[in-house]
Amino acid sequence: MSSFSRRTAMGGALGLLAAPAILHAQPTGGVKIGLVAVQTGPQAALGTQLRDGYLMGLRHLNGRLGGLTAETVMIDDELRPDVAVTKVRTALERDRCDFIVGVVFSNILQAIIRPVTEANTFLISTNAGPSTFAGRGCNPFFFTTSYNNDQVHSVIGQVCEDQGYKRVFVLVPNYQAGRDAVAGFKSRFKGEVVDEVYVPLTQLDFAAELAKIAAAKPDAIFTFMPGGLGVNLVRQYRQAGLAHIPFLSTFTVDEATLPAQQDAAVGFFSAATWAPNMDNAANRRFATDFEAAFNYVPASYAAQAYDSTMLLDSAIRRAGGRLADKDAIRAGLRTADFTSVRGNFKFGVNHYPVQDFWLLRVAKRADGKFQTETVRKVLENDVDPWAAECRMR
């Protein structure tokens, strides 16, 4: 009995060691994409949007990118940089991904950009767009189909100027993108910033900050509170009776958070490069099919991920499917020869897009669902403020 169990134990241990070998991916003739999206924790909804937008794109492309069969490795970064680094390295080393695509949050991007690009692999961000890699830090292996964070926030700054708001209260989370938000806002807003408050990314209760807003009585507030943060802020803002102060935001009231915010968010403003109600052929097809397939309204996270599949498709096709020829792939990516769901799209010298920006407002649809809708175009063919510092060519 005893020697049998000992042998089983050791056999089991060796078996455990061998298992990875058996599960080892076999090389295919297609293209392998590592899709990084947060699937754990309160911000998981954003990762799901990203993933579904990407899958929608693959579906419209019949599972092929540039003619090659696409295989996707799903990577849940859990919104933890250390986890992201470990998993992305595994994707590069074990799964041999040809492209790393996705990334909702900037801090995850910062953590993985060097491991990916130093392995001569292209990193296509479909959401995170920190200023760090738009200027001096621009990288030949890094592209983003979203925007530079600063730009979106500057739209609200412009709106405040246009509407004549002189005193604005600023409320953002305490991380790089939050700081970028404030900088972006201030780049176009020339009035008085009544107060600038930074909250932890894990904040649940905004009572303290709402008290400050009430006391300050600003003309409007500008806030950037992605995902779960936005859900709580909007609800508590309305509960505290502050809705008479215009709520101007970025990434705070979007299709990912509206299902939780519901009526509390109606009438609040946002800024973006895209809204589900945009009237062009590509977007109509995307939005309709997306809702039919996944049964919820797409947000910008989905739209931008969708665009990335079209981008990859066009780039790989232009390079003749030669994934190993990095320069050809890069040239293909730079050309960006695809129809974006947002209309205008081309890359700037720093691999960040040059595109239009809109003011949006939250509305309730006839079918009871909520979405953002375009109010007016604020910026046209806007280049991000860092592009001039990029020395790539």
Partner: protein, 311 residues
């Protein structure tokens, strides 16, 4: 006595397997990454087992000591100081100092209060690291270079690094075993089992325990240096109570009171953690009950389980 031989034998087998692995088909980079992780965490777990099993000090802040070592590497890297002759002493000194200061207060308490206060110190280290904006703060810091050895980039050689980690693990195990077998170890054990009697015989437990705490912390700090080099990334998360908890689990899983148990526990834990997610995204629903079953039916951890069946 036969019990002891079994777990030591099994551990030696595992170590041998790790030594041979690169040459029997597991030489690919992603395997070496996995092995490095196992060996470094095993070393940290051994130092913790020394504390818990030997001195009876269940520290829930051990990951913080590891993190201190890792951050030493990161901070020096930010200032372009990467040579081992600087990094090693600084990391060791930092980890030792951290353990000395926190241990001095913590060891005055006992039982669950000791666990909580080590947790508190760990959390303080975590929040301090999070506030270091210059070194990445909450988001972590990517190393520009691995630690250089007298100017050479030997650490970047995956094979060399593999054997370096293995060597460190063996060193850790040997050192802790020697300490436990020595007079120092006997005093620790006496103090753990019956502090009053130890005092009656003339040994004040406090200085011995503090010394054990500092030694364990320094070893963890060294493990942290290797960990930073392995992932080329350092984050406050390395110091979190969850990581400390994982180290404790490795120690318990393998078998409390046996250094070799910590190694086996670490191997099992990391393998499960790596392999289970490929089965299903809800792997924690399997892992959780596995832990529960392990505790319920494997009294004395893996070693107890294997040893008991002999009989």
């Amino acid at each position: 006595m036969p019990r002891l031989r079994l777990d030591v034998a099994l551990t030696l087998l595992v170590l041998a397997a790790l030594a041979l692995a690169p040459f029997i088909g597991f030489g690919a980079n992603h395997y070496l990454t996995l092995f490095a992780r196992i060996m470094i965490l095993a070393a940290a777990a051994v130092s913790l087992s020394f504390l818990v099993g030997g001195a009876g000090l269940a520290s829930l802040g051990h990951a913080a000591a590891m993190g201190v070592g890792a951050y030493a590497v990161a901070i020096l890297d930010a200032h372009r100081l990467t040579d081992i002759t600087i990094v090693l002493p600084v990391a060791m000194a930092a980890a030792a100092l951290f353990s000395l200061l926190t241990g001095a207060i913590a060891i005055r308490t006992e039982g669950v209060n000791f666990i909580m206060i080590t947790l508190a110190f760990g959390q303080m280290a975590f929040f301090t690291a999070s506030s270091l904006a210059a070194y990445g703060g909450d988001d972590g810091y990517t190393l520009y270079d691995r630690t250089e050895i007298f100017g050479s980039r030997l650490m970047e050689n995956r094979l060399f690094f593999h054997y370096l980690c293995l060597g460190f693990l063996v060193l850790c195990w040997g050192l802790c075993a020697m300490l436990l077998a020595s007079r120092f170890g006997r005093v620790l054990r006496a103090a753990r089992e019956n502090p009053l009697r130890a005092q009656a015989v003339g040994f004040a437990p406090y200085p011995y325990r503090l010394l054990a705490y500092v030694i364990a912390g320094t070893l963890a700090g060294l493990a942290g240096v290797l960990f930073a080099n392995a992932t080329e990334f350092v984050a406050p998360a390395y110091m979190s109570w969850q990581r400390s908890g994982e180290l404790i689990f490795m120690v318990i899983l393998g078998g409390l009171g046996r250094l070799s148990g910590a190694i086996l526990g670490a191997v099992l834990f990391v393998l499960l953690e790596t392999w289970l997610p490929s089965l299903t995204t809800h792997w924690k629903m399997i892992f959780g009950p596995l832990l529960i079953l392990a505790v319920l039916f494997m009294r004395g951890g893996l070693i107890g389980f294997l040893g008991a069946r002999r009989g």
